[in-house]
Amino acid sequence: MVSVLKRSLAIITLLIIGYWIAQAFAGVPFGQDKMLVGQYYLNNVKAQTGAVNAVTAVVVNYRGFDTLGEVTVLFIASTGVGALLWKRKKERTARTEGSIVLTTGTRYLFPFVLIFGAYIFIHGHLTPGGGFPGGATIATGFLLLYMAFIVYEIPHKGFEVAEGLVGMGYVIVGLIGLMIGGYFLFDWIWQTWQLGTNNIGRLLSGGFIPVIYTIIGLKVGTELSGIIDNMIKEEVRE
């Protein structure tokens, strides 16, 4: 009885909050052109960044600083999960091997999953996708390995160092921009060297976007795999 009362109280509060938010959103009409900076991006994206996909250009180039932060957040999550689930000795406790379909499928699919992930992040400036889905696809490949085989483990040391080095790579690309162009995260490949200017719409264009997206893809892939690894393994008492 009391719980029903409390639930209805909570629901009423929530409806008030919902109404409050909804009446504000009535002032932001749906489906109308509200662009200000967005229009600038759309008008200049090809000339200024060489990317066809405006979202990618915004993510990596115009608002690259956000993306650096985002990569950092993922790095923190992987570090934090590692720190919190740290045990002196950890092992996998799965007892059953995956079914024959899963193991055989994984064995043949795994390289293709990796290639597909790499394809997604390398073509980020041309097609939808980019580093984050690409990296997630790679992590899915490792997830498949974990589910199919009971003894499989990622090479931790290598992955940790790779994570760090790839992240440093991102910052260093930014610092090279600071040295060449005078601005942190400056797109020196496109704006100073002007590589690929007559190649818009093909793979070798887009300035440092493919470089950064490769870095992001590798980093996301290793970090998500690391998180999965940490979540899946349990402590073993000696």
Binding site: A10, F25, G38, K46, E70, A77, S78, G80, L84
Partner: protein, 116 residues
């Protein structure tokens, strides 16, 4: 009454359902599922703000000019927000695992009682 689009409605409903789970449920994983649903709702809200009726995706290949695409900024923001969301979720789940290892329960009231 106020008139809002179905997308806004769906997004705000998701936010409220998630918030309800956080407010009322006592199981930690349930609360985290609620937070996750809330984040999805917020992302949907942001994308709906950037949508412009009758325009296509902001990929300016053949046939799509600068005046025929939707706003790219909210999409870039949501891309960031999704990744941040999964990072928070992973962190939260590992803390939940520690709590379960220490107290043997996921019910917050029991955890409080056991802690004294």
């Amino acid at each position: 009454m106020i008139h809002i689009s179905v997308y806004y409605f769906g997004a705000i409903s998701l936010i409220l359902i998630g918030l309800y789970a956080v407010l009322v449920k006592k199981n930690l994983l349930k609360m985290l599922i609620g937070l996750s649903i809330m984040e999805t709702g917020v992302n949907l809200l942001l994308i709906s703000v950037g949508y412009i009726s009758g325009r296509s995706a902001p990929i300016l290949s053949e046939g799509v000019g600068p005046n025929q695409a939707v706003d790219p900024i909210p999409q870039a923001l949501v891309l960031t927000a999704i990744v941040i969301g999964v990072a928070t979720t992973a962190m939260a789940l590992s803390v939940a695992i520690i709590l379960y290892e220490k107290y043997g329960t996921l019910n917050v009231e029991e955890i409080r009682r056991l802690r004294g």
